[in-house]
Symmetry: C2
């Protein structure tokens, strides 16, 4: 967590401390709680501030979701400070039906979206990739888990990747360097409260 933190152990991997410190990370934010995507966009602020090119790949279809984040990152990208930010909409997504997540999109569009990510990873287009809600097309079989994990694991250069969404596949968790589970302890919907602007979007 901290710049001054001491690692629990020092591996015998032939890397210098600096090489090990700057190793590109595969990060997963999963679990049923809130904050998975919001924390990923918080990371995008840090990357922008470092002057890094940032690619956001949005696997959520709703017109309302992510509008605040998209607008903010757009203003930051156009500010003449920090890094460039590209925002990609992948043409697939999900919606809530009777309290459950249901597919709401086009498997072919999701596959084309992933192909774009793969091309950008190969070209080292970005330093940070936000693969927002990508666990759902993985879960639904719209994307091949083994192929996605292999591509992420073998990506070249120094590209950080953060994948968000519930129920991340175990293969993805196994490949990740950093996994945080957001656990719902209490949620206003439990008390009959619906989502509201400024908080949910």
């Amino acid at each position: 967590m901290a710049p001054q933190g001491q690692p629990a152990s020092v591996p015998d991997d032939g890397l210098t401390t600096r090489e090990r410190r700057d190793r590109p990370l595969l990060i997963v934010h999963t679990g049923d709680g809130k904050g998975k995507s919001t924390a990923a966009f918080g990371l995008a602020l840090r990357a922008w501030s470092q002057g890094w090119p940032v690619g956001v790949f949005q696997f959520v279809k709703s017109a309302k979701w992510r509008i605040g984040e998209e607008r903010a990152l757009g203003v930051l990208a156009d500010s003449g400070e920090g890094g460039h930010v590209d925002w990609h909409k992948m043409g697939s997504g999900w919606s809530w039906v009777q309290g459950r997540v249901d597919p709401d999109g086009d498997p072919a569009a999701a596959a084309e979206g992933w192909a774009q990510i793969r091309r950008d990873l190969a070209a080292e287009t970005y330093r940070l990739y936000v693969l927002d809600e990508m666990t759902y097309p993985l879960r639904w079989g719209w994307l091949d888990v083994a192929e996605v994990v292999d591509t992420l694991r073998t990506r070249p250069g120094r590209q950080h990747v953060v994948v968000t969404g519930r129920a991340a596949p175990q293969e993805l968790l196994d490949a990740a360097d950093l996994v945080t589970e957001m656990t719902k302890i209490r949620h206003p919907m439990d008390a009959g409260q619906k989502g509201q602007r400024g908080i949910e979007w």
Copy 2:
């Protein structure tokens, strides 16, 4: 989680759906995992996009931490779009010593910082308050938990508050509308990797 989500139950509290939906929230991000503060700053993006005044109250002392977020919110605040953002440094904080969080600051400064938050809450200065890492001065007894919780619980108007940090006091959790625990599943420091720029700050 979702605009279209159905609440699990509808309470008999005399509020309309809209009144209940727009009820101001006390949010806590706690747990040992990453993403507590980054998710709070992600919420700040949404609030900014709504045109809301946002107050960040930073209880972390390190010069390095939060520089990306502070810079990004500063650019957004000066953009002429969205809401105003004030960034307050509370003059108290913590550091990591031998892998443990240790107090590193001035209890009196923390108390003065909290007094400022209390004044702003009374004046309804902001629509969103990010009380970043405020659990630590609460844990150390630098702030009175009962007084803080009572002030937050009885705040006037429609002010959302998000408190971040490990080991949130139970009284705060009990008063919160929304609690997410960030749980560490895997962290690079476990593999001997130190924090790196663009990811940790």
